[in-house]
């Protein structure tokens, strides 16, 4: 008679523990909000899965605003954790003027009378302040700690340098301060300057020369210049903070003939700065960045945490991602910009990048006037 072999009996099968956490690791963040409410064990499984299996990654948020009345706005967000786009259905952003973004999370609109800005991860809250004292077009705008900084930009009234101004979030008042380095004075921020921010300072890089200055609003002092242009064959350097360090992304060659795109890490000594090449964009992604045009005159970057999102403002159909991990390793990828299609030429595009967590999603949903729709 054949001997029957029996395998050891495992514990009674229930849907929990490792298997549940593995399932949750595949569930998009927006669907983890209801998952948390299923039961208490599920709530812990969600938290554990996010911590150990598939952590939260910074979202890229694409805002559009039509250029004519009623200036309707749309908001779409890309969640790289699940490679998923969602449309955020919400009340339209009340129009003050053209919607713009600066560094990672700041969205703002400036008119001669009002200055509106928002900086929370999902832009649930908009702050409305009086306009700065001096009116200027396309200035540098940044949020550093508790201060909004407005500087440079163009002015039609005479050649006198426009003073810099800072707005203190705590007191709600504007103050003027020391003029800025002349190299930045007449530059149009949106095309010729790149801005990055850390807890203490705002950094501004002039894209042609790579000359960078930093401003500390608590002491109202400028520092620099530092040369952040990695070489004479590099043009349009843009700066940002990724994986806790300042990085420079630059185009190699010239606008008619871009040979490549590279990423450098900046390390600051006491007197000088050093640039260390850390990654190069794969050729097929460089082609995606160029889009249909053979020219690539400049790029833009927005970053948060370990992720940098790069795009070509003239052809924003493709978004290039660069994830910098431990050991300064670059992982490149791309995603189609769900917002861009032939119909939408008459609109402004503004991109922000934020750490969206479960709490932020819960807060967004609690108002009752927001919905997140899978695209």
């Amino acid at each position: 008679m054949e001997e029957e072999k029996k395998l050891e009996l495992e514990e009674a099968p229930i849907f929990h523990g490792d298997v549940l956490e593995a399932v949750l690791s595949r569930v998009p963040l927006i669907d983890l909000v209801p998952a948390c409410q299923v039961s208490k064990p599920w709530e812990s499984a969600v938290v554990s899965s996010l911590r150990h299996l598939n952590p939260i990654k910074p979202w890229l948020i694409v805002h559009t605003q039509t250029t004519r009345h009623p200036y309707a706005t749309t908001t779409h967000a890309y969640d790289p954790r699940s490679d998923l786009w969602v449309e955020i259905e919400q009340p339209p952003i009340k129009h003050v003027s053209v919607l713009r973004s600066s560094h990672s999370t700041l969205l703002y609109m400036q008119s001669p009378f009002k200055f509106a800005f928002s900086f929370d991860p999902l832009h649930l809250m908009w702050h409305l302040a009086d306009a700065p004292i001096a009116w200027r077009t396309d200035p540098i705008v940044a949020l550093v700690g508790q201060h909004i900084v407005v500087a440079g930009g163009g002015c039609d009234f005479g050649d006198d340098p426009i003073p810099m101004e800072t707005y203190d979030l705590r007191t709600g008042t504007w103050e003027t301060c020391e003029s800025m380095p002349s190299i930045l004075k007449d530059s149009a921020a949106s095309t010729s300057l790149s801005i990055a921010v850390d807890e203490q300072r705002m950094y501004v890089t002039e894209k042609t020369s790579g000359m960078t200055h930093s401003f500390d609003p608590s002491t109202k002092t400028w520092h620099g210049p530092y040369n952040l242009r990695p070489g004479t064959n590099v043009f349009s350097p843009v700066i940002g903070f990724v994986h806790g360090r300042m990085v420079v992304v630059g185009l190699i060659g010239d606008a008619e003939n871009v040979k490549g795109v590279k990423l450098w890490e900046v390390s600051k000594g006491t007197e000088t700065v050093e640039l260390r090449e850390v990654g190069e964009m794969p050729k097929e992604l460089v082609e995606k960045l160029k889009g249909k045009s053979p020219r690539l005159p400049y790029i833009a970057m927005t970053s948060m945490g370990n992720l940098a999102y790069l795009h070509n403002p003239s052809e924003p159909g493709e978004l290039i991602l660069c994830e910098v991990t431990d050991g300064s390793k670059c992982k490149w990828g791309s995603v189609r910009n769900v917002v861009v299609n032939e119909v939408n030429r008459m609109q402004t595009l503004a991109l922000t990048c934020s750490n969206v967590g479960l709490g932020d999603l819960q807060a967004a949903l609690s108002s009752g006037d927001r919905r997140f729709i899978h695209c």
Partner: protein, 187 residues
């Protein structure tokens, strides 16, 4: 050669038909499973290889697996091995690679479409017990897809979970997350 006897014996074995293993399910099903497929079940692989047992014609009883599930598991694993071989053969040829990928995606979509929610859950438990990594990953992704954009009530019912939040705790959550109860796919 001095080893002639051994060599010819080895040759004879490899030329024979593929070895099979007999698996019995807890509800009386009996399956003759090709050895390569059976070795995808890590619980079997370690039973034999790690513990140095010799393959012989004895039968193995699987206490946690029913015949319907096992037949599905065998179906998936057999096709997965075929796709693996096709993929390897197509390596370097981008068009051929794409064709294999699409064929696989087509098979997987059809495979999972035919599974009821109940069957999907049973399969996950079976595959988790048998320790088949690739299939488990596939099933987990499929379950995650089935609970996307679903209400809390649907998820509870799908997994047969009891709500252990107190009414007060629920009220608080409900207030904070009005959306979770509306605007989702109909149950």
């Amino acid at each position: 050669m001095a080893d002639d006897g051994v060599n010819t014996k080895v040759e004879a074995v490899s030329k024979a038909t593929t070895e099979t293993i007999e698996l019995r399910t807890e509800d009386g099903g009996v399956f003759d499973v090709d050895k390569p497929v059976a070795m995808e079940f890590l619980i079997l692989k370690s039973f034999y290889e790690d513990e140095g047992r010799v393959f012989d014609k004895t039968s193995i009883r699987l206490p946690n697996v029913k015949q319907l599930e096992l037949s599905k598991v065998i179906e998936y694993c057999t096709r997965a091995l075929e796709f693996g071989a096709k993929s390897a053969a197509a390596a370097g040829d981008k068009d051929a690679e794409r064709m294999v990928r699409q064929e696989r995606e087509g098979f997987e979509a059809e495979f999972v479409d035919e599974l009821s929610n109940e069957m999907l859950k049973e399969l996950i438990l079976a595959v988790n017990f048998l320790d088949i990594k690739e299939m488990l990953d596939f099933l987990i992704r499929s379950v995650a897809n089935r609970i996307r954009n679903r209400s809390v009530a649907y998820v509870r019912q799908f997994f047969d979970i009891e709500n252990d939040f107190t009414p007060q705790e629920e009220d608080q959550i409900h207030q904070e997350n009005a959306w979770a109860f509306e605007g989702v796919d109909a149950d």
